[in-house]
């Protein structure tokens, strides 16, 4: 394919130098190469430009031009009058505290907010390759304890807030983060077990992974909410959130085990033989030689699994745990605001998108880094 600049150069008079070509010339060359290179391409471009312009105009008209940003009190009459023509963004300032933090005591909501910030800081710290050291495990442990203290309280003059008052974004982040923090070691153990040469251990691990991966997450969550209490002794009742958390740990463990197993398979057998020759025990061999290499191989797919897992936490809506999506859905049960669910869903989708997009960008960066190594 001839480059746009090359094609353009031929038609230019020879006296004109490259540096004097104007910006508009370059823009035209670019347009020609990328939008109007052939007749079918031109037709597609024009059609897409038309549709895009139409969509943009109607979105701007609905989302900005006709939109209502604030209403006094719960007087949503003005909003209802323009329903279908304009958005009622007034629902967001009215409900955002409930959507983000659920029924957590209103004047104490700085605590979940701080917990969310701690989570974000933890993610940012963990994303730096240069900080992947032993201290990071310590940082995670500390951060999770701090988050627990903030959310529960009961010490240092913080009032105690029971788990059933928690809700919104902190719950989503708790489910995702704790699920991963406990699911990851579980995944490693199961992946090693699946590659063990002891048949009983291998088949137990295969059974666990295939059973969990074979059924929908929804049914695992039903199990956690209905069957766990059945399987536990009388009077020993654990909280609904904790039960869902256990289901998530088991779920994450099975999926992560498969990813890690892929990494284990990519480690050449010479590494095993060398470690055996040094006389290392099974655990030292895996911990010091095999696993560090295996996990390095699968970091991008691991991040993708984390991302899928983060989105999957929204399924707790079905068993009635107040995560971000459930609070959003509950916020619009309020009769005054009932008909503005689209606005609320867009707001929540934006929050999910910011987290997920950051993660997927990060995974892509890791992938290009891995290729260039």
């Amino acid at each position: 394919m001839t480059s746009p600049t090359g094609a353009r150069q031929d038609t230019l008079p020879s006296g004109r130098s490259r540096s004097r070509r104007t910006r508009s010339d370059r823009a035209i060359g670019w347009l020609r190469a990328n939008l109007f290179s052939s007749i079918p391409s031109t037709i597609i471009s024009l059609l897409l430009i038309f549709l895009l312009a139409k969509a943009c105009v109607s979105f701007v008209r609905w989302g900005f031009w006709n939109a209502i940003w604030t209403v006094p009190g719960n007087q949503t009459g003005a909003c209802r009058a323009i329903r279908g023509l304009g958005a009622c963004w007034a629902v967001i300032p009215e409900k955002y505290r409930f959507i983000l933090f659920g029924t957590y005591p209103f004047e104490q909501q700085w605590r979940p907010a701080l917990a969310v910030l701690t989570f974000v800081a933890l993610f940012v710290v963990s994303s730096r390759r240069s900080w992947w050291r032993k201290e990071l495990v310590l940082a995670w442990a500390t951060a999770l304890v701090v988050i627990g203290l903030l959310m529960w309280g009961g010490v240092f003059g913080l009032t105690y807030v029971s788990q059933d008052r928690w809700g919104g974004l902190p719950v989503t982040l708790i489910l995702a983060t704790f699920g991963l923090a406990f699911g990851f070691p579980l995944g490693i153990v199961v992946a090693l077990g699946r590659r063990s040469r002891l048949p009983a251990i291998r088949s137990l691990c295969v059974l666990y992974v295939e059973l969990v991966r074979g059924v929908p997450l929804v049914s695992l969550l039903f199990m956690s909410s209905v069957m766990f209490p059945l399987f536990l002794p009388d009077g020993f009742n654990i909280d609904k959130l904790l039960r869902a958390q256990v289901a998530f740990v088991l779920y994450a463990g099975a999926y992560l085990a498969e990813v890690i197993r892929g990494g284990l398979q990519a480690v050449p057998s010479g590494q095993h033989e060398a470690a055996d020759a040094l006389g290392l025990s099974y655990w030292r061999k895996n911990g010091l030689v095999i696993l560090p290499q295996a996990i390095r191989h699968v970091i991008p797919p691991l991040v993708n699994t984390f991302l899928a897992f983060f989105k999957d936490t929204s399924l707790v809506l079905i068993i009635g745990i107040f995560d971000l999506l459930t609070t959003a859905k509950t916020a619009i049960v309020d009769p005054a605001w009932q008909s503005f669910s689209v606005e609320v869903y867009l707001f929540v989708a934006l929050i999910y998108f910011v987290f997920s997009f950051a993660m997927s960008r990060y995974s892509r960066r890791l992938e290009t880094e891995a290729k260039s190594l």
């Binding site: 471009s45 279908g84 002891l198 059924v215 929908p216 009388d234 095993h272 999957d312 689209v342 999910y352």
Partner: protein
């Protein structure tokens, strides 16, 4: 790999260390299995105790009892007086109905978007990239609720939108024209299906013969006779009527035609768009995995672009595409259980209602597991068969 590591160890001269290692292996297996059995036994005895306290009998006898649950969107005859077993079958049909149609549509849409992402048209490829990024980064359940709210916001049946003649979109769902389902029509459709299979067999024959003597053979006249001519003859012979039943508005709802309920339609749209974003990425990376030299070599031979894509690049790309595609199909099937959030009664939703009505938690969950494990196994077997068929046959 494990045998490779244990190999040199086993050949060691010292008998003692060998037996030691083997003994350690047996010991640890015994410990783990014993622990697993103990935990399962403990859980089981708790469950038996709890069930006896709540006066719930174990076993599948409840399947014969009257269900008493209404199912609005059943494709096989069902009334609340029917048994739980029948309700489960209705749920299973609903799951298969959403999963199969969803898989077909998601594959088509995903492939188109994957190819669009590789287009030389900048705008088209950017738009495809934005589509993929946005749909992949928002939870499926949120998208499903969003589509469902949009469906509910549609005008009532009286003022339904009509995008194409005979197709109506309203808050009652999507209504399509349909052909009458009678014995004669089914015979004709059956003949056409047999014609399709015969054409496929013929095509393989022709290709095999062409690889022997090099002369290409025209397939389409035979295909036309088999797939169109014969069914037309049967239709004429049986005197089948093909009057399409167009839906009509009577009172507050539509009569005639095929109605897709709002729940089904919202779920279908959500599953198809969400999964298509993942399939698009798989198709894109599959095509990109084919070395550029393959394109260049084929173009140098003077072959047409469409021919190169169809006969040289795609067969190679498919080898990369099929395994991840299988897991996307499985994901779509499992994700169809989100139906419970909008009230479409698939197998998981029916099992959940059963569980709440009868308290037969273990049995209901076991049924879900059996159904999904069977479906997963079926999809895996089919895709493995297909994968083996297209795999590189090395001489």
């Amino acid at each position: 790999m494990t045998t490779a590591t244990s190999g040199p160890v086993r050949r060691k001269p010292s008998r003692f260390s060998l037996s030691n290692e083997r003994a350690a292996g047996y010991f640890w297996q015994g410990v783990v299995v014993g622990l697993a059995i103990a935990v399962v036994f403990w859980l089981w005895s708790n469950a038996v105790h709890n069930l006896s306290v709540r006066r719930i009998s174990t076993g599948f006898a409840f399947l014969g009892r009257e269900a008493g649950m209404p199912i609005s969107d059943a494709w096989i005859a069902y009334s609340p007086q029917n048994t739980y077993l029948r309700a489960f079958i209705v749920g299973l049909v609903n799951t298969l109905r959403i999963a199969m149609i969803g898989i077909v549509l998601a594959t088509v849409l995903g492939t188109l978007i994957g190819i669009a992402r590789l287009s030389s048209n900048w705008l088209l490829s950017r738009l495809a990239a934005v589509y993929v990024e946005v749909l992949r980064d928002v939870p499926l359940l949120l998208q499903l609720l969003f589509w469902y709210v949009l469906m509910q916001g549609l005008p009532a049946a009286r003022a339904a939108w009509m995008p194409i003649g005979g197709v109506f979109l309203s808050n009652r769902g999507l209504v399509l024209p349909s052909i009458p389902i009678e014995a004669g029509n089914l015979w004709v459709i059956g003949t056409a299906a047999i014609g399709l299979i015969a054409s496929c067999v013929l095509r393989r024959r022709f290709v095999a013969r062409q690889s022997l003597d090099g002369t290409p053979r025209l397939l389409w006249p035979y295909a036309l006779i088999l797939m169109v001519g014969l069914p037309a003859l049967v239709s004429w012979g049986l005197g089948v009527s093909w009057i399409i039943a167009t839906p009509e508005l009577r009172g507050f709802n539509f009569v005639g035609g095929l109605t897709l309920s709002p729940e089904y339609f919202a779920l279908l749209v959500a599953l198809v768009t969400y999964t298509s974003a993942f399939i698009a990425e798989i198709v894109r990376s599959g095509i990109q995995a084919v070395p550029r030299g393959q394109w260049d070599a084929a173009m140098a031979l003077g072959l047409r672009r469409s021919f190169v894509l169809q006969h040289i690049v795609m067969p190679q790309a498919l080898r990369v595409i099929i395994p991840p595609m299988t897991s996307q199909y499985l994901n779509l099937t499992k994700n169809s259980s989100l139906a419970v959030a909008v009230g479409y009664q698939d197998i998981v939703s029916i099992a959940n209602t059963t569980l709440n009505q009868t308290g037969q938690a273990i049995e209901s969950i076991a049924l879900i597991m059996v159904v999904f494990l069977t479906i997963s196994l079926g999809i895996s077997l089919f895709m493995n068969w297909y994968n083996a068929r297209i795999a590189l046959s090395e001489r």
